[in-house]
Symmetry: C2
Subunit: 197 residues, 2 copies
């Protein structure tokens, strides 16, 4: 274990390898994030993977405070990511709890992380956070125009969403038969075993 952080989880090299081997496909960084809504029904949407938080095994995403997933993160923190890599034909399922870092975070490190992810966004991505209420009846086109907000200070709806995996299921479809490993966290350590596909 490093002085500054936690041990790199044993599934991390496999994710890094998949990201590398699929790097020619921009959408290999798109994952499907499932949460549970206020009626107990699943909700599932595509989000962009923004890397791991330094010295942790937490996956980083950005979201709008006004979106359903931000709302769901607060009322029901369990989430499962499904990450399919087309080129290497492998799938990771990452189950864990999500946490939101919003404009009013009291934590200095969280505040800094939010600034940092905002600064890394493209102009069109920043602009989206100034658009009218997501999911409301369509506003006129003029509500979507204008200049992107400056990249020094995040706008209020901008949030970081972190997923802390508890269980990771890695399936390689290319194996013969197929290879599948299950990783489970127990406190600070991870167990792993090979399981049937």
């Amino acid at each position: 274990m490093g002085e500054l952080g936690v041990t790199l989880a044993p599934w991390r090299p496999a994710v890094a390898h998949a990201l590398h081997r699929n790097r020619s496909l921009v959408y290999s960084r798109y994952v499907q994030l499932a949460t549970v809504d206020e009626y107990g029904r699943p909700a599932n949407r595509t989000v962009v993977f923004r890397g791991f938080r330094a010295n942790t095994n937490q996956l980083l995403f950005v979201t709008d405070r006004r979106s359903q997933k931000a709302h769901q993160a607060v009322i029901q923190p369990w989430a499962e990511i499904c990450w399919y890599f087309p080129k290497t034909r492998e799938q990771f399922r990452l189950l864990g709890q999500i946490r939101l870092i919003a404009v009013d975070t009291p934590d200095p490190a969280d505040h800094q992380l939010r600034q940092q992810l905002w600064q890394q966004l493209s102009d069109p991505a920043r602009l989206q956070f100034t658009w009218p209420q997501p999911g409301a009846a369509a506003a006129g086109r003029e509500a979507f125009t204008g200049d992107p907000p400056p990249n020094d200070e995040p706008v209020a709806p901008f949030c970081v969403l972190l997923l802390e995996p508890e269980r990771v299921d890695h399936l390689e479809l290319r194996g013969e038969p197929q290879n599948r490993w299950l990783y489970e966290r127990r406190g600070d350590t991870w167990g792993s075993q090979q399981i049937n596909p």
Copy 2:
């Protein structure tokens, strides 16, 4: 409305168009299916779209009776599919209830559908239904060999999974700004409106 079936839902042409324009990518038929497990946590995995059931708006998939999703379909029928099309950069989210057609189905039409989907499977796909218990500690390689079962009669674990959409959220990332439509079913009719992305 046709004599034999229901009205084609208004989102069907958009799905058909996306399938056609993305047909060069085999994985444009792979979708992520989210369900809710017995602890109320989301579960999310990739499944292969097998078409629509004739004269319905139901999406067809196949699964193993011994899998978690087959178990979850019975205890908690709500599911949401996330379907991302890489080439046209559009996403469909289909929320609905799932239903399983298993070996003991008493319904003749369901029985026939199960036969038909079994017969359309490739040899390697049929072989998977003879493999040892999915998710159990890895069996030896010899448990995965053998000939695929004949294609006339499905093996017992083989199930058809149907999703009947209640709500469909279609997002086109390529629009300017982006285009998003929401379709909602009310009994036999569908309402639709354009909403903010």
